[in-house]
Amino acid sequence: MPRFHARVLISLRPSVLDPAGEAARSAANRLGVEGISKLRIGKVVDLELEADDEAEARKQLELLSDRLFANPVIEDWSLELQSVATTTA
């Protein structure tokens, strides 16, 4: 069965305050890096899965992202998906 590699990127929705991002931005200023107008901290879920085809893989990943990895009330997510070359024995 084809294998796929996916990365789901999860971030707080723009309307939700990200105090950890604000703290990191303030540390960046103390490091001497000026001019950062936005710094938001999110999460990445890195996974591999098997599926019949890319459409099926995408469907599974959308379910996972919507129902488990992210909480749509406060978070947005985006998906990177690629197939993994399978070697035959």
Binding site: L12, P19, A20, N71, V73, I74
Partner: protein
Amino acid sequence: MSIGVVVFPGSNCDRDVRWAAQGCLDIPTRFLWHESRDLNGLDAVVLPGGFSYGDYLRCGAIARFAPVLESLVEFVARGGRVLGICNGFQVLTELGLLPGALTRNRSLHFICEDALLTVESNRTPWLKGHQRKDALTLPIAHGEGRYQCSDQTLCQLQDDDAIALRYVNNPNGSVADIAGITNKTGNVLGLMPHPERACDPVIGGVDGRGLLQSLLG
């Protein structure tokens, strides 16, 4: 008449709830392991505070899939009373039994202190013994208690008279100072403060007694 207290791996207020309910208030109490589906004979269920499943991913995100909660959803639909305290409140929002979500405190600090609250609604059994604007002091202890919801959800909460408790000095940045909400029906209450830690005068107050008594009242 008896209540159940759900025990997830990582719960740490389950015993406190039993101590308060059974020890202080004489309410027969039994623990419900997270893998159990048996809620038979219970009049109310408490989801206690703690760090269910390590709070991996998000607070309450993994607990939401616990077998015991499948039974709990049916229990709520039948009108059973459910009280979610702290992590229990987070689980109820993840489960969709209450709207909104709880995320990291505005200050980033874990806050452990007494919080002054006002009763915003006495519509439901949980606070029917109070007048609106009554003051309560209950301990809070959380790092992720900032209640968040859309403007539309906030309007709905107000229309449904579902905001149960507000903070007087909003400690965590919650929308509209919200400390606790109910569902529209009124049989589910979620709150960040810990009523079970305010049931004995020896440890600093008894303002939590009414909320626990209303599990059966």
